[in-house]
């Protein structure tokens, strides 16, 4: 038997004229956790789809246990013990956990009738070692994201998976949930499962993987032992150039308080949240995912209304009952999910840019398209948007440039306070830097920025002050100077654990 359970050599895959994979190599050892890294669009997703049989390679070899193999569908790969847990959990929300686990391999009697009893029993046996508090008869939609991922793992295990592919499993998990996932991954590895772990987080890689393979621009860059490559070098390999500095220098002067939040509460989401933000300042709102950060932002922006508490803008108490009010008062929100909340993919860029404030383009009762385009061009040039032209649809842009369109949309309104909810989520390293530049330029121009972020280095690198939230409450606030990752972590975790015990 060969040393490698799965081996890919010189795999090429093109879609029409676009090369998605260009001579890619990959070697997975038996019982190892192998990290796969690379910027967005580096070809990782296509690679996974080739392994699982969604796509067939144009040329190249795939060897499973040293033997050449071709998968023509996901069923083929599943039968050979390859299972994938995709980035966006691909579950059936209305169906029960049991059914989700057994979808496609149901236990049936001779007449083809389901044996629900046996399936439920097996499902319980599979779930129990992973988590104690998942009720297998409940619909999937009642579970948290982390729990849903565990169900996906149980599903993979139910198929006797020998190779498990996890596509950014920690992207939307809290630190504690991540830790639980790490432990499960390690246990699986010890049981002999080989795991391909795709991630953007270096933390995941250092914690779990023994080796790391890097892709860039559809090409294979290299494979290293994790303990033999430095962080700097790895980033360099991913980006293709050396990073001298991750965060651009700041040149804003901090002024008076613009927005003051006075102990607002919303039932089921958060309680007694207070903070303020000053002119030219970046305030980071951090903490675990699910700590209520996004909801606080949505309450300030008027998507939801807080039950109690008040919001002061420039010393005056304001009532915000809808995004319309917020925008009129000068508060803008860059939403967390730009695809569903920030962009209209079918309409041209300039219409996206003007959408939040169209009033100023009205001339004689009709919208002045020329003025719209001129304004959009002005704004987009300022933030260095890379697009064919201003009438191209946002769907033709990369993630970073799409985010810039949303920025331009906010800049089109006359705002004082910008709330940025995970502004660099799902954006590759290069584009992140230019988003940071934009943020710094905005503060220099007197904007007050509230930035929600889960990435510790980003918080420390960009913010002037840091507010940490923990399960719906403010757990502490720090000045960026002299604050360390450990201090923030401690604040966001401490009591949480005490409560569970």
């Amino acid at each position: 038997m060969s040393e490698y359970i799965l081996e890919l050599k010189d795999v090429v895959k093109t879609f029409g004229g676009v090369t998605a994979l260009n001579g890619v190599h990959f070697q997975l050892k038996r019982g190892e956790i192998h990290a796969l890294m690379g910027e967005n669009g580096a070809g990782k997703s296509t690679f996974i789809k080739v392994i699982t049989g969604v796509h067939q390679p144009d040329s190249g070899l795939m060897l499973l246990e040293g033997e050449k193999i071709t998968f023509r569908s996901t069923e083929d790969s599943a039968k050979m013990g390859i299972a994938a847990i995709y980035q966006h959990v691909t579950a059936f929300p209305d169906l029960s956990v049991t059914e989700n686990i057994f979808m496609g391999q149901e236990i049936k009697n001779k007449l083809g009738i389901y044996n629900w009893k046996l399936m439920t029993k097996r499902a319980k046996e599979l779930i129990e070692p992973l988590s104690k508090n998942i009720d297998v008869s409940k619909p999937m939609s009642t579970l948290s994201v982390a729990q849903q991922q565990l169900v996906e793992i149980a599903k993979a295990l139910s198929r006797d998976a020998r190779i498990l592919i996890m596509d950014e499993p920690t992207a939307s998990l809290s630190r504690r949930e991540c830790e639980e996932l790490y432990q499960i991954a390690e246990r699986l590895r010890d049981e002999g499962v080989s795991i391909i772990f795709i991630t953007h987080k270096f933390e995941d890689m250092y914690r779990l993987a023994t080796r790391v393979t890097v892709f860039r621009d559809s090409q294979y860059i290299g494979c290293w032992d994790v303990d033999k490559i430095s962080n700097q070098k790895l980033i360099g390999e991913m980006v293709g150039r050396e990073l001298t500095q991750m965060y651009p220098p700041k040149n804003a002067t901090i002024g008076e308080t613009v927005l003051k939040i006075n102990s607002i509460s919303k039932e089921g989401f958060f309680k007694d949240v207070s903070f303020d933000v000053r002119k030219g300042e970046i305030l980071a709102l951090t903490g675990l995912v699910g700590a209520g950060r996004t909801e606080v932002c949505q309450n300030i922006f008027g998507i939801m209304k807080p039950d109690t508490g008040s919001i002061e803008l420039e010393g005056k108490e304001v009532k915000i009952s809808s995004p319309i009010d917020a925008l009129n008062l000068g508060i803008g929100l860059l939403p967390e999910d730009r695809q569903t909340q920030g962009l209209i993919n079918e309409l041209p860029i300039y219409q996206n840019v003007s959408s939040a404030d169209m009033k100023k383009f009205i001339k004689g009762g009709k919208l002045d398209t020329n003025a719209e385009e001129a304004k959009a061009i002005e704004l987009c040039q300022k933030i260095q948007l890379k697009a064919k032209d201003i009438s191209a649809p946002p769907s033709s842009l990369s993630g970073g440039n799409q985010q810039k369109v949303v920025f331009a949309k906010l800049l089109n309104c006359d705002l004082k306070v910008l709330i940025l909810d995970e502004p660099t989520k799902g954006i590759d390293v290069g584009a992140k830097y230019s988003i940071y530049e934009i943020m710094n330029e905005l503060t220099a121009n007197g904007y007050a920025i509230i930035m929600v972020s889960s990435e510790m280095p980003e918080v420390l690198g960009m913010a002037d002050r840091i507010v940490v939230m923990r399960s719906g409450r403010v757990a502490g606030s720090f000045d960026a100077d002299g604050t360390t990752q450990e201090m923030i972590l401690e604040a966001s975790l401490k009591q949480d654990e005490g409560k569970e015990d």
Binding site: P93, L95, G104, G112, G268
Partner: protein
């Protein structure tokens, strides 16, 4: 967590509880206003005359669970009814079972046509079946030539499928019961049936899981058409009259029954037992209306109002459930 909940709270939280409660209230009201309603005969009569709605609703339910809708079933019913009646009247010697099978085939073909448009050509179900509704109804007229068929033209063997009594129940009700049972087994315990739920709840996941969406939609729509065809034949057999105008707006009633029975219009949710209760409610309502003199002009308005009320109620219970969930979460903060 669930184990220490009492039996009572479990029952009251069940989805069907509200439906059954509604049905009971309805029955009591009807009883007070029209005492004659509750003889065994009148109940059987009531169910017999509403049976086709039950059949249509079961088919419609499958389509709605796939997150689609089929508004051509009334026209399918008419087309099958006309074809069967005309051929039956022209060939009185042929045994009745032939017409039953023919009805299933014609219905299935109509449904399959819908299924191809929606499943394989990815048309919006509402628009596709809107088009086929025209087409089927038009063909129904063409085939009938505007003609009517009356009881004397109907053969015994044909009518027996609806009216012949077996163990005290007319055969149309036995057929309805069989369809209900088959639907429960199909939707609850077979792979194909569960696939219908799967694509209704999440199309993307289905794709990843290797479920062919087009095939499942095609199957659901074909079955729906088949049941519509069956009800076309049984309708004409039951009333022993037929013209191309039968079954007008029956799809609305079928959809109403589904909604009353808790089938979610956005797909993925809905059970046969709910539809059975919805069917009973609708039967009681229509029968009740027909018993009161002068009320028959009210039937459309009442049905419309009931649908709106049912969906609105559904929305409000959903919202209050959400609120309850939020309160529970608040305790953790």
């Amino acid at each position: 967590m669930n184990k220490n909940k009492s039996m009572v709270s479990k029952i009251t939280e069940s989805r069907n509880f509200g439906l059954v409660l509604g049905l009971v209230v309805l029955l009591i009201v009807a009883r007070i206003i029209t005492p004659s309603m509750y003889s065994v005969n009148s109940i059987i009569n009531m169910l017999q005359n509403n049976a086709v709605y039950g059949l249509l609703a079961v088919g419609e339910m499958m389509v709605i669970i796939t997150a689609g809708i089929d508004i051509s079933i009334g026209a399918t019913l008419s087309l099958t009814g006309v074809v069967c009646c005309r051929l039956m009247a022209e060939n009185p010697g042929v045994p009745g079972i032939v017409w039953l099978l023919l009805a299933l085939v014609i219905g299935a073909l109509c449904g399959a046509f819908n299924g191809i448009l929606v499943g394989y050509f990815k048309m919006v179900p509402m628009i596709a079946t809107l088009g086929t509704m025209y087409i089927f109804r038009g063909f129904s007229f063409l085939f009938s030539g505007g003609q009517w068929w009356f009881p004397h033209q109907f053969t015994e063997g044909y009518m027996a499928f609806a009216t012949k009594k077996i163990a005290g129940l007319p055969s149309i009700l036995w057929i309805l019961i069989i369809v209900f049972v088959l639907a429960i087994i199909f939707l609850g315990y077979t792979t194909k049936g569960r696939r219908i739920y799967a694509i209704g709840t999440n199309k993307e996941s289905s794709q990843v899981a290797g479920i062919k969406e087009a095939k499942v939609v095609f199957l659901a729509m074909t079955l729906c058409g088949m049941l519509a065809g069956l009800s076309g034949m049984l309708y004409t057999a039951n009333y022993a009259t037929c013209s191309y105008m039968i079954g007008d707006a029956y799809e609305m009633t079928a959809i109403a029954i589904c909604i009353l029975g808790g089938v979610s219009i956005v797909g993925g949710k809905g059970k046969v037992d709910g539809v059975i209760i919805g069917f009973l409610m609708m039967a009681v309502i229509t029968y009740f209306i027909s018993l009161l003199p002068g009320l028959s002009v009210w039937s459309d308005a009442i049905q419309g109002a009931i649908i709106i009320a049912a969906v609105a109620l559904n929305k409000f219970t959903e919202r209050s459930a959400e609120k309850r969930a939020l309160k529970e979460r608040s305790a953790l903060i």
